[in-house]
C-alpha cells in the first residue's frame, strides 16, 4: 500500500492482473470420486502383490537358526554367574545344535540378547563419543554423560567410560562342526570387518600414541565390569585393541529393541569345507560364559543366518505387501460397486 504512489496515474492502485496475484495459477485439481481413483487402487494393488510375491520367494531362500544357551546346557555357568563373587572365575560350556539343511552363501554368526534394554535413554546417553574418537582430553576427563561410570573409586577416568561400554557383552564363542565322517572342525569366522566402515575408521579411534597402546591408556581405569583392560581386548590381534576393537564397536552401536542380535562373525568361506556356506550337520558352540542375564530375566542365544538383499530372514515385509495389496483390492472392489450403483448420480452431478 505504501508503495502505491498517489498521483502516479489514474489507476495507480490497480492490482496487477497476474495469474499469481489473482490466484489464477494453472492448477490440477484431482477430484476424489470412484471412477477417478479406481485405477489408482487397482494399480497399487497390482504393484503390491507383485512385489510381495517376489519378496516372499526371496525370503524363502534364507536360513536362520537360533540356539538359546542361557540355561539349558549351560546351567552350571548360569548358576555360577548369579553371584558376582564368581565373576573372575572362568566358565566354559557347550551348546549343540543341528543344521538340517545347508546354509548356502554368506553365513552370519550373531549373538542375541533377549530383554536387554540397550535402548534405555539414560543408558544410551551414557557414553562419550569424544573419548571414543580418541581425544586425549576426553580420555582424561570423560563427559558428564558417562556418570556414574566416568571415574572409578580411585578417581581415575574410566576408558571407555559410560554404562554402554561398561555392560559390554563378553561371552565368546567357538563354533565347531562335527563332520559325519571326520574330525570336528572349528568353523572359521571372520572376526574382523563386522563393523560399519565408518565406525571403525571415523567414529572410533585410539588415542594417538608413539609407543604402545597401553601407554596411551596410561592413567585410565578399565570399566567396572570388564575383565580385561581396553588395550588388551583381543590378545590375538594387537591391531584389534583399544577403542577400535570390533566387538566393542559392535556393542557400542546400541540396538533399537530389547531383543536384539549383534554380529559376532562371518563365515570365512576360504576354507574348502565351507566354501558354499554352512553344510548341514551337527554343530556345537563352545561358549566362554561370562555375561550375566538373570538379573533382568534375560536370555542369550546364538543366531546363525544367511541374508537376502534386503536383510535377514524376515517374512514380515512380503506379508505386509500382500496384505496391503489385498486391502487395496477390497477397497477397489467396494469402490467399483459404488461406482456402478451410485456413479450414475455422480455423473448426473457433472452433466
Amino acid at each position: 500500500m505504501a508503495k502505491n504512489q498517489v498521483g502516479a496515474g489514474p489507476f495507480a492502485r490497480r492490482p496487477d492482473n497476474s495469474a499469481f496475484k489473482q490466484q489464477r495459477l494453472p492448477a490440477w485439481s484431482p477430484s476424489l470420486t470412484p471412477h477417478t481413483v479406481l485405477s489408482v487402487f487397482y494399480g497399487l494393488s497390482l504393484i503390491c502383490v507383485l512385489l510381495g510375491i517376489w519378496l516372499l520367494i526371496t525370503v524363502q531362500n534364507t536360513y536362520q537358526l537360533k540356539v538359546d544357551y542361557t540355561n539349558g546346557s549351560c546351567k552350571k555357568c548360569f548358576e555360577m554367574r548369579k553371584y558376582p563373587a564368581n565373576a573372575t572365575k572362568n566358565c566354559i560350556c557347550t551348546a549343540n545344535f543341528k543344521v538340517p539343511k545347508a546354509f548356502l552363501g554368506d553365513v552370519f554368526f550373531y549373538y542375541g540378547l533377549i530383554n536387554f534394554h540397550q535402548n534405555l535413554r539414560r543408558y544410551m546417553d551414557s557414553r562419550d563419543d569424544a573419548q571414543l574418537v580418541g581425544r586425549k582430553k576426553s580420555l582424561k576427563f570423560p563427559s558428564t554423560y558417562c556418570k556414574p561410570f566416568a571415574y572409578d573409586e580411585n578417581g581415575l577416568p574410566i576408558a571407555p567410560c559410560g554404562a554402554v561400554a561398561n555392560s559390554k557383552f563378553n561371552d565368546s564363542f567357538r563354533l565347531v562342526y562335527h563332520q559325519l565322517d571326520g574330525p570336528a572342525v572349528t568353523v572359521p569366522l571372520h572376526r574382523r570387518g563386522i563393523t560399519w566402515y565408518t565406525d571403525k575408521n571415523i567414529k572410533f579411534h585410539n588415542p594417538p600414541t608413539n609407543t604402545t597402546l597401553q601407554e596411551a591408556f596410561q592413567g585410565t581405569a578399565q570399566p567396572l565390569y570388564w575383565q580385561r583392560p581396553v588395550y588388551d581386548l583381543d590378545p590375538e590381534d594387537p591391531n584389534n585393541n583399544g577403542f577400535i576393537n570390533d566387538d566393542l564397536i559392535v556393542w557400542m552401536r546400541e540396538a533399537a529393541f530389547p531383543n536384539f542380535k549383534k554380529l559376532y562373525g562371518i563365515l570365512n568361506r576360504a576354507h574348502a569345507l565351507f566354501s558354499h556356506g554352512l553344510p548341514a550337520g551337527n554343530y556345537s558352540i563352545i561358549i566362554t560364559y561370562n555375561f550375566p542375564v538373570q538379573y533382568f530375566q534375560g536370555k542369550k542365544e546364538v543366531v546363525v543366518s544367511t541374508v537376502t538383499w534386503f536383510g535377514g530372514q524376515n517374512y514380515f515385509l512380503p506379508i505386509a505387501y500382500l496384505v496391503s495389496s489385498g486391502m487395496t483390492f477390497i477397497a477397489a472392489i467396494v469402490l467399483t460397486v459404488i461406482h456402478v450403483k451410485v456413479g450414475r448420480d455422480g455423473k448426473n452431478m457433472e452433466e
Binding site: M1, V6, G7, P10, R13, R14, P15, D16, N17, Q22, Q23, L25, P26, A27, L32, T33, P34, F41, C48, L51, H117, N119, L120, R121, R122, M124, S126, D128, T144, Y145, P148, F149, N166, S167, W196, T198, D199, I202, K203, Y225, A255, A256, F257, P258, K261, K262, L263, F296, F310, F316, L317, Y321, S324, M327, A331, I338, V342, G343, M349, E350
Partner: protein, 1463 residues
Amino acid sequence: MAREIGEPGVAKSSTTKKHKRRKSKKEIKTRTVHANILYDQAKGGDNPNRHYANNKIKTTKYTLLSFIPKNLFEQFHRFANVYFVFIALLNFVPVVNAFQPELALAPVVFILSVTAIKDLWEDYRRHRSDKEINHMDCLVYSRSERQYLECYWKEVCVGDFIRLRCNEILPADVLLLSSSDPDRLCHIETATLDGETNLKQRQVVRSFIDLDTEFDPLKYNSVIECEKPNNDLNRFRGYITHRNGRRDGLYKENLLLRGCTIRNTEEAVGIVIYAGHETKAMLNNSGPRYKRSKLERQMNVDVFWCVVILLVMCLFSAIGHGLWMFQYGDKRPVFDVLSPEGTDLSPVVSAIYLFLTMIIVFQVLIPISLFVSIEIVKICQVYFIHQDADLYDEETDSHLQCRALNITEDLGQMQYIFSDKTGTLTENKMVFRRCIVAGVEYSHDANARRLAMYQEVDSEEDEGLSRGGTLPRKESLTSQHSGGKAVLRSQSTKSHRRTGSRAEAKRASILSKHTAFSSPMEKDITPDPQLRDKVNDCGSQMEFMRFHNQLLSQISPDLQDVFDFFIALTICNTVVVSSPNQPRQKVRRFELKSPVKTIEDFIKRFTPSRLTSASSSSSSTSLATNRSSSHRACSSLLSSPSAESTLARLEEERGATPGIRGALGTTPACPHAGGSVAGGSDEGELRYEAESPDEAALVYAARAYKCSLVGRLADQVTIELPHVGRLSFELLHTLAFDSTRKRMSVVVRNPLTEQITVYTKGADSVIMDLIRPPAADDSKGKRQRKILFKTQNYLNLYGMDGLRTLCIAKRVLSKEQYASWLRRHLEAETAIQGREELLFESALRLETDLHLLGATGIEDRLQDGVPETIAALRRAGLQIWVLTGDKQETAINIAYACKLLDPEEEIITLNADSQEACAVLLDESLHYIQAKFLCSSSADPCAAGVFQPDYATLQFHAPPTSSGTAGPVVVHRLGLVIDGRTLAYALDKSLEDKFLAVARSCRSVLCCRSTPLQKSMVVKLVRDKLKVMTLAIGDGANDVSMIQVADVGVGISGQEGMQAVMASDFALPRFQYLQKLLLVHGHWCYSRLANMILYFFYKNAMFVALIFWYQFYCGFSGSAMIDQWYLIFFNLMFSAFPQLITGTLDKDVSADTLQELPQLYMNGQNSEEYKPYMFWMNMIDAFYQSLVCFFIPYFAYADSDVDLFTWGTPITTLALLTILLHLGIETKTWTWMNWASIAFSIVLFFMVAMCYNASCPTCYSPSNPYWTMQRLLGDPLFYLMCVITPIAALLPRYFYRACQGSLFPSPVQVGRQLDKVPLGLRRHLVNQRTAHRTPLYPLGPPFLKGCSSKITDPYSSNPKQKAQAASPICLKSMEMKDTPGSSKNPVNHLEHHDELSLPSSEIIWLTSTPLMPQMECVQLISPPSGASPGVTYQKNQESLDCPQQNILKQTCGERLSDSPDSQ
C-alpha cells in the same frame, strides 16, 4: 498503519509523569503556554514550556539498546512462547534432559527471532518515516533573527510562533493568532484526520481579530491556559489572558490541528499549543486491531485438548516407567543406569523425572509452529485479498484494505450482516428530486427524466470501457479548476506523500476524489416550471414592493412561503463557498469593509456564536463548479438604495435597543453591474463545499431557481435572488446539526423585513412535532392545517418512494423574544461546565413554534449491484439486517429496491410508543409467526409442490444450526420493520429475548430511525444472544460503534469520511464487493485455514505418537528413535512449506462457482471444515497412521541387528512421506508451487539428513547418527518400506475421501465437480439445480414452507400490472396476509376501506401508534424509477380496532380452511 501502535500511549504516560512532577506547582488539569520568545535566552532554564513534549515524533518502539530486552519481553506475553522457553530450559536440567540443551533452544530461538526480525523491520520503517516527518520544514519565528526562519518540524516547541502558508501541512496543533484573510479566517482541510474533504473554517482568536497590522510576535505577551492534551478532535477549550488582564475564550474554532492542510489562506500565524505526540492527531492514531477469530477460538480449544493428550501420554509413560523399574526389584540390571551420584533412583522418583523428560520429548504435540504458520498464512491471505482486481474500484482508484490482519477466516463464517443504508447500500450521492412548498407538490418531472438519462449513460459506461469513461471526466474537472489551483493541489498531494506517514499518505488519495459530488447529475437540476414561475413571480413582486417601500408582509402567504423556502434552502446550511480560480478574499472583494466596523460593535456586546464547524457526524465534500452562475441576474442596483435606508434605520434602532442591530451587508453594487454574464464569468464558478451531500444537493437545487449562495462569512451570508439581487443576511447564530436534535438552524436578520428569523431544516419527524399547531378555525389556521396535512401526506409518499425527506421551517422572532433567548444562550456559550448540554437546551428553546415552509425529497441512488449482492448473500444463508437512521417509509422502499424485502414477503411492522405496547406487539408477532407457520406447515404440505422453484431456492436456506442456542430456527419469509423508538423498548432487558425470537425467524429485518448507539446495541444483542458471527458494514461516523461491536467490521471507503474505515477491519470501496469478499475470499480463507489447522494437529500428533509407541519397547525411558534434530526441525523445516503453500493457495472451489452458488458459503457458516469431531477423527487417523509408520519398520527390522538410529531414521522418513502425501490427499488444487514445495521438503530432508549424518561424529551427543542416512540410502529395505508404509497408512483416508466424493459429497465437493464443467454448461447446471431442487444440503432440515409462498401473483415488474395494482383495491390490512391469491380473495374484503394497496405485497401493520394522522386517502402511483419495484404503500386506519390476536387466530383458521381450496 502499524506505526503508531501504542506509542501515543507511551508518550502520554511520559508526559503525565512530567505533569505529575509539576503537580506541586501547578494544578494538573490545564496546561499553560507562554510564548517562547520571552524566554529565548534562558534556553530551557525558566521557560515554563520546557516540560511539554517537543514536536519530534518517535513512533518506534525500540532503540538499538532496548530492542532485545523489550522485544523479548513483549513476545513473552504470549503464553505459547513462555511454554516453549520453559521446555527448552527444562532441557538444561541434567536429570530430565532429553536433547542436547542448545539444540532444544533452537525452535524457540527460531520462532522468537522470526518475530523479532519482523518487529525490527517494522520498527525500522517507522523510524524512517518518523525521520522524514521530523525533517519537514516550517517557518518558526526566531527571537534573535527577528524573523521567521526555516526549521525542521522536530525543532518546533510549544510556545513557538509559526507562520503557515497556503497548502502547507501543519506541524503541530497551533492556535490561530493571525490570518491574511480579511475576515481573519483560515481554512483547513482535515482529510488526514477525519477524512472529511470539505474545508473547515478556523478563526483567529477573538482578541487578535481586529488587528489591522500584521501580527508581531514580539508584541505578543499573553498566557494561554488550555486543556491537557487529549484526543478529541472536536474539542478545545481554554482561555487566553492578556497582559491587561483581559480574558478571552478559546474554542476549537481557534485551533489548527497537526496534519491538516492550510487552504485558501495565504498566510497564517499561530502559536504552538500541543506538539509532537501530544497533538490531537497523534493521540488519535490507533494501530491495527487484533481480534481473535472464531476459528482461532475453536483451535485454542483443541490446543487445550492437545495439552491434555500430552499430559496423558506423559503420565502414562511415567507410570509405565515406574512399573518397569519396579519389576526389577532391588537388583538393578546393568543397563539401568544409576543416578550420576551413583545411587539408586527409586521408581517413583525416576517416574517423576521421566514425566518431565516426556514433556520435552513430546513437546512437538503442542504445535509451536502452528501459531507462526497461521500468521504467515494470514498475511499471505491478506495480500491476496488486497491484490484482487475484482475488489478494485476504478472510480475512486481504491481497493480493499485489510486493516485487521488476523480475522480473514472470519469472513467465511458470517451469519448476520448488519448494514447501514445511506452510503452503504446507496451511493450517498444526493440528488434533489422533489419538493413541497406550502403544501403544493412540485414533482420536477423533467428532473426525473434527466436522472433516468444519467442512469442510462452510467450503465452504458459501465458496460463499455468504463475506464475511458471516467478518466476524461476527471480531467475535465481538473481543468475547470484550472491554473494555479491545480498546481497547488498537486503540490499538496506530493507533500502529503512526502510525510511518509501512512495515514496521511493514504488520506491524500482522497484529495483526488475532491470531485466526488461534482458529477453533473447532482449539480444540474432542472427546475420545475411551475415553481420557477412562482419564484420569479415572487422575486418580481418583492422587488416591486420594496421599490415602492411597501411592507413585505403584504405579499401573499403562498409566495412568502416560497420566498422563505428558498432562502432557507440557500442559507440554512454550513456550505462554504469558494471559487477555484482565486484566493478566497477576491471572491468577496465587492463586499463592503465598512459594515464590519458596525458589526464589530455588535460582536462586542453579543458575540454571536459561530458554531459553523463540523458537527460530530461526518460529512463529505462538494467541490462543484457553479455552472449556472452565468445565468445569475446581477440586479443589485435595486438593492442599494434600500440598503442605505435600512442602515439608517438600523442606526436608530441601535440607539434604542443596543445589541439588536442588524447589520445589513447588502451588496451595494455588483462591480460589473452591466451584465450578468460578465459578472458570472469574472467571478469564476463558485464551488460549494458542504459538510453533507444533502446540504450540497439543496444548495444546488436552490441555485437552479437562481437563488444562489454567493458567500458565507462567519457572520454574514450573501445570497442572490432573482430580481431582488444580492442580499446579505446577517448571520446571528448557527446551531449546528446534531444527531439527537436531527436538525440545524440558522438565526439571521432578514435584510428586507428586518425580522430576526430562525430557519430550521431537519428530519420531518422532528420538525413536524415542532410546528406550531395551527391556531383557531380562522382561514389562516385552516390553511395552515391543510398545508401541514398535505405536506405530511407527501412526505409519506416521498418516504415510500425512497426519498430522503427534509422539512424546512422558519420562525420569526420578535426582538424581545430574541433578546431573552440570546441572554440565556450567551450564558450557555460562556459556561465552563456542561456547555454542550446548555447549548443543546438553548437550541431546543429556539426551535419551537415553527412555521412550516415546505419539504424536500432527495434521492439517494442505490449503488450498483446492491440488489444482486444482497440476493447472493441471502442465498448464501446470511441474514441481512439493515439499520438505518432514515425514516421508515424511505427505508422500506430502499429495502424493496435492493431486494432486501421481497414483495411476496409478509412484513411485520412494529411501532410502539410504550414499553407495554411493545411487549404486546412482540408477543402477538410471535404468536402470529408460530400459529401461521405451524399450521401452514401441517396443513398444506402439498402447497409446496405448486411452488417448486420457490421451494428449491429456499432449500438452500438451511438455517445455521451450529450456533443455535435453541436448536435450528426456521427462517420464514417474513420481513420485520421496527422503528427506533420501538427498538429502544425492544432492546430492553425484559423484551430483548422476545424481540430476538421474532427477529430471527424473519428473513430480513429493517431497523429505521435508529441511533448509532442502537445500532451497536442490536449488533451486540444478536452477537451475544444468538452466538452468531456478525458483520457490520457502514460508511459513516454513525456506523462506527456498530462496526466496532461486530465480529467483523467493514467500512465503505466512500464519501462520508474515514471514521468508519478507521474503525473497520476491512474497508471496501463499494458494497457490492462484499459479495466476493465473503463468498470467495471468506470461503477460501476459512477453508484454507481450517484445513491447515486440522492438518497441523494431525501432523504433530502423528509424529509424536511414533515416539510414544516406542516407549513400550524401551522401558518407557523416554528415549526416541527419531534423532533429536529431526524431532526438532521436523515441524520447523521439513514439513513446514507444503502446508504453508496449501494453506495459502488451495482453492476448494473456484471463484466463479463460489459466486454462482452462494450456498457454498454455508460451509463456513456451519463450520463444516472444522468441526470438533474432526479434530478427534484426525487424531484417530493420526494414531492409526503413526501405528503403521511405526510397526512396519518395527516388524521389518525385528530380530535384526539394527541399531536405534538406523531404525529410527527410516521412520522419520516414512512419517515425512506419509504426512506429505496426506497433505496431497487434502490438497484440492495443485499448482506448480504445491509440487515444488513438496519436492523441496523431501529434498531438504534428505539433504539435511545427509549433511548432518556426515558432519561431525562427536558434536551431537548424546545421539550419534553418523553416516546413518548414507547407509540407509544403500539399503533396499529402506525403499521397500518407503513404498508400502504410505500406502498402508493412507489407504483408509484415501478410501474414505473417494467414497465421500460419490456417496455423500459435501456441497463443496459438488461445487468442485462443477468446476470441471465448462462455464456455459455450468451456468445451465446451476440454474437447473435450482429448478429441480436438487438438495445441495441433503442433511439440512427441510425448510418449513411458509404460507406466504402460496401467493401466486408474481410481483409484476411490468408497468401495466403495476397500474392495475395501484387501483384502489381496499383491504383490511390485517387480513391481507391471508390472501392466498390476490385475484381470489380481495373481493371478500373489498368493503373495508378506501385505501390504496398493492395486492402483491402483504404488509401487516402491527402498530399501536398510527403511523400517520388519520386522514383521507393517499394515492401514489410511483413513477417507474430505476430498478425499484415500485412503491407500495398502505395505511392502516383501524389496526387497533380489533384485538390483533383474534385476527391472527382467525387468520390461521382461515388459512386452514382456505388451503384446500387453493389447490
